[in-house]
């Protein structure tokens, strides 16, 4: 369906602060950006580049004082995610060169330390899609979703122990468990229609049978109508905002509405 999605961020900078933003989604296989608006107040010089994952990144220096960002887009999305029970595991030797590094441990995804848990969860499951789905389901059923239980340094190993976290933590754990089975997995950040409470969201994709599939451990029954903003190995690669200096986020709004309804 067509969605109007966007966010508004209100900062207060204690001095001139370099910022890197990752807020502009790209059109691609799964989504088409029909309309887009990107406002920065006060107006400053912004440049844009593409990082090594293909994400669009905006660079600027926020001046001292209040600083706000308003982004909104109308996007054509798919109503459902593809599911394919039984899709076979892709052997490492058949992975495309640029997918290979998604099998390795990364900042928050210590896949090398979670092999036992991955084996246990996927015991008696066929290699491939069914493993990733078993992992997703296990996390959904065994990790409690609760705000304020984790922070920017929480990793998959922490979450495997604490069994509590938010979408970012669920995602790191899902990625790590897949990689522990040599299934490439990557983090996705973006928007999800009807997410409750509405917020920026994170989920993961696993590479199975020659393509990427969507998995979301925060939901019992993962839905479509997702807008991908950025891909990466884990949260270290896909921060919506990275600031180089003291700056306070005072307010943040996120919305995802059917495009037929007038936008915020």
């Amino acid at each position: 369906m067509q969605l109007n999605a966007g966010c508004e961020l209100q900062f207060e900078a204690q001095g001139p602060t370099p910022l890197v933003l990752m807020l502009r989604p790209r059109s691609g296989a799964g989504q088409w950006i029909m309309r887009e608006e990107y406002q920065i107040t006060p107006s400053v010089n912004v440049t844009e580049f593409t990082d090594m994952y293909g994400n669009l990144c905006q660079r600027l220096v926020a001046p001292e004082g209040p600083f706000s960002i308003h982004f909104s887009a109308t996007v054509q999305t798919a109503d459902a995610i593809d599911v394919e029970p039984g899709a076979p595991y892709t052997p490492v030797e058949d992975l495309p060169d640029d997918v290979l590094h998604y099998t390795l441990p990364s900042r928050y995804c210590q896949s090398d330390q979670l092999g036992d848990l991955a084996a246990e969860i996927t015991n008696a499951v066929e290699p491939g899609y069914d493993q990733a789905e078993a992992i997703r389901k296990w996390i959904n059923e065994n990790v409690k979703y609760q705000y304020g239980t984790s922070d920017a340094s929480t990793s998959a190993v922490d979450t495997a122990n604490a069994r509590v976290g938010v979408c970012r933590d669920f995602t790191h754990l899902g990625i790590s468990l897949c990689r522990a089975l040599n299934i490439p997995a990557r983090m996705v950040v973006g928007y999800l229609y009807q997410l409750k409470p509405m917020d920026l969201h994170a989920w993961f994709e696993a590479y199975i049978d020659g393509r990427w599939f969507t998995f979301d451990a925060t939901q019992q029954q993962p839905r479509g109508n997702r807008i991908t903003v950025a891909y990466g190995r884990d949260a270290a690669d896909v921060a919506f905002t990275t600031q180089f200096g003291p700056m306070t986020l005072n307010d943040m709004k996120v919305w995802v509405d059917p495009a037929e309804i007038a936008e915020n």
Copy 2:
């Protein structure tokens, strides 16, 4: 200033026709895309990729029958282009690796065959900016701007002989003459405020003193307020539309207006 720019293309496809479009500008050092709208009628699946010059390309298959594209954007542009008389020539050995190939001949820019003309035009001019500006001025004064005098196969050598052409031909000649002096030069396609008659436009950039400068041989006094849509070696790289099959362009509108005034 802030500009509203856009175009509308009306096609008639004789059968399902694969299309590659290069219509979406990217934010970058010189411009900021504040708002953007991209409509395709009838709605079809579109994917987007980045080509080897960093341009955004949209792929789709137009169905048989009428097919239209509407693109519009609000863009913050620079009011003037940078000029820097006397800026020194960058020796080949100091060029960045990814600039080097812009010294070589390409499809429409046979720089190897235009060395004598380049030497003649820039005789007694200091190497660097002043050479590129002498070339630009020479073309402006010696080549007649006239629609219908060239076509998709017209090259810089043709234009050097015929001394007549349109913006694309002026640009190819300017690029070729710069390259003949080992000054890297590339084609730019996009929008120019107050172009008369309004149309999609082409100009060139030359790499001097460690950066790219804008040159436009179609104007006596090149102005700012330009929106770059794509870069490439010459027109072979930066077609706004490339079609793989029989399809007729029936109508095309282009506009560039101050953003304060309501958009078309």
Copy 3:
């Protein structure tokens, strides 16, 4: 088989001359570089970069006077090229993004002007591999191989008219005729075992049924044991040496021997 291949180039520079060399093959799907030697006399500072096609390029400034380059490698190659009569045409809409530009005209391959000839040659032939093979065979039978009949400015249209040329011209014509049928085609330069007389060689690849196939119009029965040095759209992209100043090539030796036999 394992081949020892190499070349030796003797230059005389009239002054310090920037050079870009494309002489170092890369290991890849079809070949493994087991041993490699690269000498430059007199010794100068050399840097290396990867161009946009993935070719390794070496940059240096040759000093005034004699200058020589000696490159040799031992390479594991495939004894035969893959042939697959009947392999189906890949529709444009199914081409990978980075293959797409190989359908377009380029400096020496004016595919847009050779549609009639392509249609004539492949009349009554199934789309795909058989078209490319019909083109290759037609060139082999209808274009005369003769040194000294073409030069650095000879294009595919020239060769289609003159019906005479060398490996470079055969290749440009083959590429153009494939592209005229929307079959992506690219130039390959490198070494071929048992080429007579021995020289650096050029041939082409066409993208069919989801992969690249090797075609060589200079041979009745194309053989394997090829070493690829570089890929590109045409000769403009894959010069073994590009010089930016006056420099004379006084002597050039090329060899390809079975690795069991002591190398030149």
Copy 4:
């Protein structure tokens, strides 16, 4: 000077095991690969690709049983590293786009948790080169070099606490402390002439005053004659070998000799 450097690895694979190797250095600004040999026994099919940092990676499947790799190269290296006390800090807003991500925390370099230590070490030191050098010197004087005190999961925070480790740990700590000051830093793995005991080595580079400088915390007085094999954010990016299955490294030899002396 000209160095003969190389390594020999002897594995025993318990079954067919996919391997990714990063053993082939690239010619570049600081080094020229004059000769190179790469043998794999038993001979298997190997393909090569370039990762997102520009490193050459070799892929293969080792068969069950003994498997050995022999790599050697003759490389022209610089006798000394560049040092530039007083070179000024490059503000974040002036960093090249592709350097920016080297300011962020990564798998083993939790720069966000080491700000206090970085501030303490560089207290009263001018921003830029002198900070990085103060960090390097502090590590050299305060962390004890000792084999067997760390493993593949040891991170910079661990080393900051334990104050003991090997070259890899010294490097992770140096990188993290630089990043904590918003100085981009990256890991380098390769060979160092006269390293005692001889082994594969790791050090770091920091981006200061518009370029990369070499720092090696394992040495009192860092020397030149280094051969870079790969760059990355930390050890997660630049493993010499990555195996996907059970495989034992039974023996490993490393050598770096003056090229005048016959090679191992």
